[in-house]
């Protein structure tokens, strides 16, 4: 094992200029316009007349060191040793014009998926799930893999009326920040935590645990130096478990997935908005979560069939109205769909104007 070099701290990340391709350095801040050449390639043109080609490929995000070495090989061969990752975890290369086709060929040969640019489905922002977290209600990588095995054509070839951003979070902490996605896949618990009386006294700080509950379902149980949980008040957010390991909430039958739709963060045409509940619950059915895959596919197809060009999922739904959305998708509307948290009243329809279906 290497002998320890002397300690360096607080240096932050290296400055990005170390990593920029020359053409970007030269034209930094001078880009004039861009053109999408195909689903995997776009061209940016500078005021100087210089051109920058970007070829994008999908990554599973959870990758091995050898995978990174492989993309490094590719970058060195086609992209001057430069590459970048996108905010949705795709990988981008910057070949010269002449290298665009050879690069795409090479990527395909190696079994990589080229695409993700423009109107379609790009990579799925997701989280840790059973790979590395203690609070998940479902897995992340596995669900994403199953869904995209079905929808990959929207990444590589097929277009949609607009971008459809799919994100997954494996619990209500929403590390994927799914709350503003066109289609959000959200892991949920459905059973209250069980108090582990044996450990709670020395594992947990009772006051902070009680304070952590959004609905005030937790009260002290001084006798046992423990807490009581009013089960009918619990909506299984898991925040108490985050604070206190003695309140495990994961449960094989209770846990599963809910689907929210219609969110966005861009402000094009309409403002950023949150996703709304479409499907309250689908079971965890590893390894391929068929119910979830079918549900997402169905939503994408109904949207593709009915939305106007440039209309995001949420913009489409707001134009036709939620009542029409439930009619078109055939998704049953239930008590779960009606908000009952603090701001519920803001969601009530305070007008007799609506569509019959």
């Amino acid at each position: 094992m290497a002998d320890k070099p002397k300690r360096i701290t607080d240096i932050g990340a290296p400055h990005f200029s170390k990593f920029l391709p020359p053409v970007i350095k030269k034209n930094y801040g001078k880009w004039k316009y861009h053109e999408q050449i195909n689903k995997g390639t776009m061209k940016h043109v500078s005021e100087t007349g210089d051109e920058l080609y970007t070829v994008r490929m999908a990554s599973p995000r959870l990758v091995s060191t050898d995978y990174i070495r492989e993309v490094c090989d590719i970058a060195e061969k086609f992209s001057g040793g430069h590459l970048r990752f996108t905010t949705r975890n795709n990988i981008e290369f910057f070949p010269d014009k002449a290298q665009v086709d050879p690069l795409q060929a090479e990527l395909k040969k190696r079994g990589h998926l080229v695409g993700g640019i423009g109107y379609g489905i790009s990579n799925v922002v997701h989280t840790q799930g059973w790979i590395h977290c203690h609070t998940p209600a479902t897995d992340a990588s596995g669900v994403v893999k199953a869904v995209m095995d079905e929808l990959h054509e929207y990444f590589t070839t097929k277009s949609l009326p607009a971008r459809v951003r799919i994100a997954l979070a494996c619990c209500l902490n929403m590390c994927g920040a799914v709350h503003c996605s066109d289609i959000a896949i959200l892991g949920i618990h459905r059973k209250p935590p069980k108090v582990n009386e044996a450990t709670i006294a020395n594992q947990c700080e009772i006051p902070t645990t009680i304070a952590s509950c959004p609905t005030g379902a937790i009260s002290p149980n001084p006798a046992l130096k423990s807490v009581k949980i009013k089960e009918e008040r619990c909506m299984y957010c898991g925040n108490c478990y985050t604070m206190c390991p003695s309140l495990p909430i994961a449960n094989a039958t209770g846990d599963g997935i809910s689907i929210y739709v219609g969110g966005k963060v861009s402000n094009a045409r309409g403002p950023a908005r949150m996703s709304k509940l479409a499907i309250p619950f689908l079971p965890n059915n590893p390894p391929r979560w068929p119910e979830v895959v079918q549900a997402v596919k169905h939503l994408v197809e109904v949207y593709a069939k009915n939305a106007h060009k440039h209309e995001r999922v949420g913009e489409w739904i707001e134009r036709i109205g939620w009542e029409r959305f439930f009619t078109l998708t055939g998704i049953p509307f239930t008590h779960m769909h009606i908000d009952d948290f603090t701001f519920a009243r803001e969601t009530f329809r305070m007008t007799p104007t609506f569509k019959w279906e």
Partner: protein, 392 residues
């Protein structure tokens, strides 16, 4: 290494055209017991339909309060390779640009000390190294810092800022998102590495209202590029686009403020009414460009649902010019933190605090004037507070 290495469920996820994380774990497993036992315990979770990870204990490197997420499995006897399975968050370079050589160095370090598995990138933006043991942390830290890298944030501190590609590759960029991100990261090293806040604080920078970093949803402080003057137009290019698209229905009719018109070949924009949503510019980048007087809208409060419900960031300053060294931005952020430190409860995000105390407290102590741009609409409820000296 645990004997049971049959993983039928996960093996199924090697099939299909979408890139397979299972293949990746298996690649790593060739060299690493940790990776092999990750595969095994994950298969076990697929069978049991529950996670097998326990709460992370506090682990880290000397003098830092964050950057490592401690993780232990609940079946260490069966899966000794993942008895410890900590992740190390490395602060990514602004804009996620790398060179092959730099990445190779990092990968070599990681093969030496870890599972050989990574996330490019974590949702916050860090380069995440997945799975190592407590006793390796100092060595990893020493080697990555020697190569010019540092840890990212975790815990109640400034989290690793991130940004869009901005001026490096995008004609829409109204601010230098990458330079801003890098500058803030370095100005705030202490706040990033040594948790001293009521809770986590995230900063994301997007060069325009398309918000390619999802800053409005994912950052306590969302910095969004915009302009104050008029959209730059090239009518000749408008004509060219008009042969490729229906400018009336695709652009004019979809303009949220209805401030455009397209009559016999010329596009008109009433810039006074434009709210800079970006739609027309997005669709006709060759013909339309953001104005010349550029800067950012500063927004506060974005976060996930826990505890009081999800928030999207809202406007607290409609326009701020942003030129290096961005001292005006630094000063504002420090004032916000000061106010948050003074009033925030433990685990209360800054957006929740504004929600609890009201905007006035935050605005007055940061010196930001109230303006209509901060709200969709003024209050409808009549429960208005008056300070004694307002009432004379």
């Amino acid at each position: 290494m645990s004997k049971d290495s049959k993983t039928p469920m996960l093996d199924d996820l090697e099939k299909g055209v979408w890139p397979s994380f299972v293949k990746e774990i298996k690649k790593a497993a060739v060299k690493s017991n940790t990776a092999q036992d990750l595969l095994n315990i994950l298969e076990r979770s697929y069978r049991d339909k529950v996670t097998h990870w326990k709460h992370g204990g506090i682990v880290g490197v000397l003098g830092y309060g964050g950057g490592v997420i401690g993780r232990y499995c609940d079946l260490p006897e069966e899966y000794p390779g993942v008895a410890h399975f900590h992740t190390v968050r490395i602060n990514q370079p602004a804009g996620f640009y790398y060179t092959a050589s730099a990445l190779r160095e990092l990968m070599d370090i990681w093969d030496k000390y870890g599972s050989g598995l990574t996330n490019f990138h974590g949702s916050t933006g860090d380069l995440v190294l997945l799975g190592t043991q407590t006793d390796k942390l100092e060595a990893i830290f020493a080697e990555i810092t020697a190569k010019g890298w540092d840890l990212g944030g975790s815990g109640s501190c400034l989290r690793t800022p991130s940004c869009c590609a901005g001026m490096s590759r995008c004609e829409f960029a109204c601010i230098d998102s990458m330079e801003i991100c890098d500058t803030l990261t370095h100005k705030f090293q202490d706040e990033l590495h040594r948790p001293a806040f009521p809770y986590k604080f995230k900063i994301k920078v997007s060069g325009c209202a398309n918000d390619c970093t999802a800053a409005v949803a994912r950052a306590d402080l969302s910095i969004i590029g915009t302009w104050r003057d008029s959209i730059q137009m090239d009518q000749a290019e408008v004509k060219n686009y008009s042969t490729k698209m229906n400018i009336q229905t695709e652009i004019v009719d979809m303009c949220p403020t209805k401030c455009m018109s397209f009559d016999n070949g010329t596009l008109k924009i009433n810039n006074k009414d434009c709210n800079r949503c970006m739609h027309c510019i997005n669709q006709m980048p060759k013909a339309l460009r953001p104005g010349k007087e550029k800067g950012a809208t500063i927004m506060l409060g974005g976060k996930a649902p826990i505890v009081t419900g999800a928030l999207m960031s809202w406007v607290i300053l409609p326009f701020m010019k942003l030129e290096p060294p961005f001292d005006n931005l630094e000063a504002l952020i420090r004032k916000l933190w000061e106010w948050w430190d003074d009033h925030g409860k433990n685990r209360e995000r800054i957006g929740e605090l504004v929600d609890r105390l009201g905007m006035r407290s935050m605005l007055e102590s940061t010196g930001l004037p109230p303006v209509p741009q901060m709200v969709k609409a003024p209050r409808s409820n009549p429960y208005v507070f008056w300070s004694a000296d307002d009432v004379k």
